[in-house]
């Protein structure tokens, strides 16, 4: 295959041979959108590429997607926008009744051949129908990033700017929240939501929340309540009963579904509410590159699900690399958006939270019908497995399992958020230079006659020559490496303070 690729890229390969090689290599699927440009950069002549494209198109009654896309790429490189458009349209029409993944490959060709905005539009349509289509989601992330780069580089790139604007536009999400809030106002369902929020806040009454943190926690509790509170359910089905929540696939009484079912709800908002309820994915979203461009690539370290996500600016400002966002993401108009309510976690905090969610999911799966659920164990802060690292190498779980894990994460998210706050508020253990917990002890020890003299004879003790009843204990010897590092640090600090002439002492 390597030899074939090398012949494809060799400028001396004849047009006829190039046509055959491309057919063999791409096997009927679209070529990469940048291929023609790359071949030209490497020394191929445009005429030779046009000849090869012509041969490929004419060799079959129905040209393959390889032929159509290669010819489109060559037409684009030649500046023939009309012919390029005609061939792209022909490629899009050719696979309409076929495999959705093949169509996505045509869209990827469009994205990588300088038409990212068009690819974004096509992918939005696909993702509106199937927001969980991982391949489409992956291509969408790459396409919107290309459109963003083009929009940043060229103020007149109207189609790209429109794509970026749609991506950043959270008005649909805000409109849904406002409409649901208005729908619940003064109703029994609204009172049930508020009761849940009040209960959650009461359960964290021991916490020293800042006013902002308390408000944020209340919003998180409210968000969960919108998808779970159901006054029509049996009283025994408590809000924390994960198993019951998961067993109920069609909880028509919950606020989001009740809103969607209400006859006065506009159809678009009803669809958004149902999409929220069906697809919202709570998780631990690891953010490897925190600079939005315009969105962030995220991986849920519990399920391995990857999503390209739009976050509100306030949620991403000052994010360090490897931050993990504990929160929900929801598809709106084919774009995955953070709900904006959540908690930023460090990698180690996230590992501990992942272990806790895993445990909750397992407990739910193994729970016996009718038996009370086992109370959760404390979140293992500081001694969890490196789930965030494992997520890089593990295959994502199935879509069904990811959905289940997302629901479990949603069911325990307020507990985790509160426990993270509690953990952060816990005073750090005060330790001495050995790393032992600090405790100031004054002890009087009865010893045998002559013990002091025996101590003073040891290398690690030193009797004060002026006050013979005082003995200094030097403690444990510092390892060489540590001593060197401590000395280097002391020297660097002295130099930073302006002591330019300090030298390291000779000897240990």
């Amino acid at each position: 295959m390597q030899a074939r690729l090398s012949r494809i890229h060799r400028p001396g390969t004849t047009a006829a041979e190039l046509a055959i090689l491309l057919g063999e290599h791409y096997q009927g699927v679209p070529v990469a959108g940048w291929l023609a440009s790359a071949l030209l950069r490497e020394g191929s002549s445009l005429a030779r590429l046009q000849d090869a494209a012509e041969l490929m198109l004419s060799s079959q009654d129905t040209p393959s997607l390889t032929a159509l896309t290669f010819a489109a790429a060559v037409a684009g490189a030649a500046g023939d926008a009309g012919e390029e458009r005609r061939l792209i349209d022909q490629a899009l029409a050719a696979d309409e009744a076929g495999d959705p993944d093949v169509r996505l490959e045509v869209i990827d060709f469009i994205s990588t051949s300088g038409h990212a905005a068009e690819a974004v539009e096509l992918l939005e349509l696909r993702l509106k129908e199937a927001p969980d289509d991982d391949f489409a989601g992956d291509l969408y992330g790459a396409a919107i990033e290309r459109a963003y780069a083009a929009a940043c580089a060229d103020e007149t790139a109207a189609r790209e700017r429109a794509a970026v604007h749609r991506f950043a536009d959270r008005t649909g999400l805000v409109a849904l929240r406002d409409a649901v809030s208005a729908f619940l106002d003064g109703t029994e369902l609204g009172e049930a939501v508020q009761a849940r929020v009040t209960e959650e806040l009461w359960m964290t009454d021991d916490l020293d929340w800042s006013p902002e943190d308390r408000v944020a926690f209340g919003k998180l509790a409210e968000e969960i309540a919108l998808a779970t509170v159901d006054p029509g359910q049996d009283e025994d089905e408590t809000p924390d009963d994960i198993g019951d929540m998961l067993a109920d696939d069609d909880p028509t009484g919950v606020p989001l579904r009740a809103f969607a079912a209400d006859l006065s709800t506009p159809a678009a908002l009803a669809a958004s509410a149902l999409a929220w309820h069906e697809h919202i994915h709570y998780g631990l979203w690891r953010i490897d590159d925190p600079v939005p461009g315009p969105g962030l690539r995220c991986i849920d370290i519990i399920s391995g699900t990857e999503r390209y996500v739009e976050f509100p600016a306030e949620a991403t400002s000052g994010l360090p690399r490897w931050t993990v966002w504990l929160g929900g993401i929801v598809p709106v108009g084919g774009i995955w958006r953070s709900t904006g309510v959540g908690v930023r976690l460090s990698p180690t905090e996230a590992d501990a939270a992942a272990e806790s969610i895993d445990e909750a999911a397992l407990a739910m799966l193994h729970a016996l019908p009718g038996e009370p659920e086992v109370p959760p164990t404390p979140i293992p802060f500081g001694h969890a497995m490196p789930h965030g690292v494992y997520a890089d190498d593990q295959e994502p779980v199935s879509a069904e399992m990811a959905s289940l894990i997302g629901k479990v994460a949603g069911a325990v998210i307020t507990r985790i958020a509160a426990d993270v706050h509690r953990y952060r508020a816990t005073p750090p253990a005060i330790a001495n230079t050995d790393g032992d917990p600090m405790c100031l002890i004054t002890a009087t020890i009865a010893v045998e006659e002559g013990t002091a003299a025996k101590l003073a004879a040891r290398r690690d003790f030193d009797r004060d020559t002026g006050e013979p009843d005082r003995i200094t204990w030097w403690g444990a010897l510092i390892p060489d490496g540590q001593r060197e590092a401590m000395m280097a640090e002391a020297m660097a600090q002295l130099r930073a303070q302006g002591h330019k002439d300090v030298e390291a002492p000779e000897g240990p």
Binding site: I430, D436, C439, L440, A443, T444, I445, L455, E484, A488
Partner: protein
């Protein structure tokens, strides 16, 4: 500091572990130690620490001379008492990667305040564990 008065030694130490070590030494030299009296103060009772994440701040010394250099060859409990150099080649590598990510995250937090964290780039270079985004 120990103060000797006849067959009694009064000692001030800052941890239970240090007191235990001293008692071990006294036994080794045949002192047959017995604690006659003891007073303890737990300083944690009087501390009012600020909440929030506590990031590990880097030292003033360059990584090649300071804490980072020492850490590479120090036994680390979180790496099951292996050194980072050993862990980089062994089964503990995921735990080491997790530590490096935590260091990098904390350095990012500190950078917002204009402070410097642990030099993770230097550590990754020494451990031959490249940063995925940079490569």
């Amino acid at each position: 500091m120990l103060r000797v008065r006849g067959r009694e030694i009064t000692v001030e130490v800052n941890s239970q572990q240090r007191l235990t070590r001293l008692l071990d030494i006294l036994r080794k030299v045949g002192g047959n130690p017995v604690i006659a009296s003891e007073k303890r103060i737990d300083p944690a009772q009087d501390f009012a620490w600020a909440s929030g994440p506590r990031a590990a701040q880097g030292g003033t010394a360059a990584a090649a001379e300071g804490w980072e250099k020492f850490w590479l060859d120090a036994k680390v409990p979180a790496l099951l008492d292996r050194t980072p150099r050993q862990a980089a080649r062994g089964r503990e590598r995921p735990y080491l990667e997790a530590m490096l990510r935590q260091f990098e995250y904390e350095a990012g937090l500190l950078a917002v305040d204009g402070k410097t964290g642990i030099d993770t780039a230097w550590l990754r270079e020494q451990l031959d564990m490249p940063n995925d985004l940079a490569d």
